[in-house]
């Protein structure tokens, strides 16, 4: 795996390049940051020809290591105007790695109106005409591609990506060939659409070369048993991320009615335990546990069926239950599942969409709890009506248009389903991430800390951000982190056997730190200052009922987190 595939969408030339030495010992999110810093003017316009869309593989991607083949996609974001990496499960990265690719770069943009999809197989790549697929949802597009190429891995955009909405994401097919996995955040689907690329289609499978096969198999056995047997894995496999609904409600941090409340009266109807019972009772296509990528032993995904047992959506997860459920006052699970499925099919970020509709509901465009209105908004977004375009460009745009200041967003991107006043470490993560409000950048909700206190939250978020950066740079699912804990040597052993290297735990930490530094450097060059990394006043001045507090981690501490990353410091304080 030592090639970079470069596709110029203007000249339609395709090149295979040998990976430079400086890129060999990184991957995923870390490689995206390096390529963007090296090749993209940070001040460029995100939907212009100078931006590039990058798919980068992790260091163990393509092997049979569980949860190590996330597809990492990045560019300068049209939503935040800063660096963006968004990763998901699915099969595309695994297949791209098996085709011998370390990264794929889409650059420039066409001067004509022709659309294409990228077809990749071993040693071959072509741009195929895609006009016939325009306007198709992600499901219809994948079905059409699978008729031509059964079993192909696909990453694609839906109609909202074609319309360049700032909330457009990129969908990736799962192990069942359904496009339910999303690099949803930051508008990467619009960047793909700006290059008039409908999708990436990867054919074929292969095995990855191993420098020390015996050592690899031994390390793999240990790693798999640690991940498989961890109590956290059993929870992921049973309730999935939906288990967080009850817990966040308990903390008073479950976004409700546009983040005006942190506890939801209908919580019991949308919690993980109820989802488990509904799926079990309905049967049919329903699955309480499901792997999004082949070989995953965590299997946190699910398939949620309708009353007849026919699949509505896969997966139905915590962030979507929060943003499309409680945040909109909707407690009917089937409606939440349908809203989720509609977002997936049109190719739009569920978090941003839920937040935007919440803002519109606060403005009185519809009442909280009005399921029919919410479903109608989805139709607006898909059809591209004026209201749909407002909502589809995110919570901040929606707030501006309707004159609402209570907008749950940082640096242009909407908050996931953790109220930062109740889970203050997450608030630090939202405020200091170079990618806008992003929970996966430093998810602190499971830490043994008084979550609503401001004490120690900056340190907690800082150390969590460093840990998450390691997993993202390796292309690993961060859900492994609960199982692996501090046993990072397990991962180092796998890397060493795969490549014949001799990396150690401090090296693993250093690649995470390098990633964080490069991302903040990119934003600094794009014009971000430390003052950009702050929590909006609707969270620092508006008390969250129930928890009776505002977000009160000081601006000085937030700036210290950014400064520490920029300086590559091991500790928060110099």
């Amino acid at each position: 795996m030592d090639n970079i595939l470069r596709i110029n969408t203007r000249t339609r030339t395709i090149q295979y390049e040998t990976t430079p030495e400086s890129y060999l010992k990184t991957g995923g999110r870390g490689l995206i940051a390096k390529i963007l810093l090296d090749e993209v003017d940070p001040a460029c316009e995100p939907l212009g020809r100078h931006n590039k869309l990058i798919f980068a593989m992790g260091l163990l991607t393509g092997t049979n290591v569980s949860s190590a083949s996330r597809v990492c996609i990045g560019a300068k974001s049209p939503l935040t105007q800063g660096i963006k990496e968004s990763n998901s499960g699915g099969t595309t990265a695994m297949r791209l790695a098996q085709m011998g690719l370390k990264a794929m770069i889409l650059e420039e943009q066409p001067e004509d109106d022709h659309w294409h999809y990228v077809k990749i197989s071993k040693g071959a790549c072509s741009l195929e005409p895609a006009e016939a697929y325009l306007g198709m949802g992600t499901g219809e597009f994948c079905d059409a591609i699978h008729k031509l190429y059964p079993g192909a891995a696909v990453s694609c955009i839906g109609p909202v990506g074609e319309m360049l909405y700032s909330s457009a994401g990129i969908a990736t097919t799962d192990a069942d060939h359904k496009p339910g996995r999303f690099s949803g955040r930051g508008g990467l689907g619009a960047v793909m659409g700006s290059k008039k690329i409908k999708g990436i289609v990867v054919l074929g499978k292969d095995t990855m070369p191993l420098a020390d096969k015996e050592g690899f198999m031994a390390a793999l056995k240990t790693y798999t048993s640690v991940v498989k047997d961890a109590p956290s894995t059993l929870n992921y496999r049973t309730l999935g991320t939906a288990s967080m609904v009850r817990i966040m409600n308990g903390h008073g941090g479950l976004p409700t009615h546009n983040f005006s409340l942190g506890r939801f009266d209908g919580m019991d109807q949308i919690c993980g335990e109820t989802i488990f019972d509904v799926i079990t009772e309905r049967g049919g296509d329903g699955r309480t546990s499901h792997a999004c990528m082949p070989g995953c032993v965590i299997q946190c995904s699910n398939i949620y069926p309708d009353i007849e047992g026919k699949a509505i959506v896969s997966p139905l997860e915590y962030e979507n239950l929060g943003l499309l459920g409680s945040n909109l006052g909707i407690s009917d699970l089937d409606t939440v599942a349908r809203l989720n499925a509609l977002c997936n099919d049109m190719g739009i970020d569920t978090i941003e969409t839920g937040a935007a509709i919440g803002v519109a509901m606060e403005a009185g465009v519809a009442a909280f709890g009005d399921s029919e209105a919410a479903l109608g908004f989805m139709e607006d977004i898909r059809r591209g009506t004026v209201l749909g375009r407002v909502l589809g460009n995110g919570a901040v745009v929606t707030g501006k248009v309707f004159g609402i200041r209570n907008v749950p967003a940082v640096n242009g991107q909407a908050m996931p389903a953790y109220d930062p006043r109740a889970i203050k470490g997450m608030g630090v993560t939202y405020a200091t991430s170079p990618m806008g409000a992003d929970h996966t950048y430093g998810a602190t909700a499971r830490a043994q800390i008084e979550q609503a206190s401001s004490v120690g939250q900056a340190e907690l978020s800082f150390s969590t951000q460093k840990n998450m950066a390691v997993y993202d740079t390796l292309g690993f699912c961060i859900f492994c982190s609960g199982a692996v804990g501090n046993q990072h040597q397990l991962i180092a052993d796998l890397i060493n056997a795969r490549y014949g290297w001799s990396v150690d735990v401090p090296w693993l930490k250093s690649i995470g730190e390098e990633t964080l530094k490069n991302e903040h450097l990119f934003n600094q060059k794009a014009g971000f200052t430390k003052a950009h990394y702050k929590m909006p006043e609707c969270f620092t001045e508006r008390v969250l009922p129930g928890v009776n507090t505002v977000f009160d981690v000081g601006q000085e501490e937030l700036e210290q987190v950014v400064e520490a990353h920029l300086e590559g410091r091991r500790t928060l304080k110099p």
């Binding site: 109590p231 956290s232 059993l234 929870n235 992921y236 049973t238 309730l239 991320t241 288990s243 967080m244 009850r246 817990i247 308990g250 903390h251 019991d268 919690c271 993980g272 335990e273 109820t274 488990f276 946190c300 997860e317 915590y318 962030e319 929060g322 996931p416 389903a417 953790y418 929970h439 996966t440 998810a443 909700a445 499971r446 043994q448 961060i478 859900f479 982190s481 609960g482």
Partner: protein, 74 residues
Amino acid sequence: MIVVKVPGGIKKEVSVAETLTLEWKPMTILQWLGQLGIEEKQVGAVLVNGKPKKMSHTLEDGDEVQILPVLSGG
């Protein structure tokens, strides 16, 4: 009697996993957690005989209970 498996780290003072055998009483999971000194929001899920149950579920004599840690969402 009921058997309760508690993972390490759920209670601040107990870092290692423990298995407790307790005399059964007709109490809900939430009440049992209170008796064990475990905060509900520190619990990711509770499996009773392998199936997830809500906090309002009343345990029966002979139940095997597994308490699971909190996850990060996604």
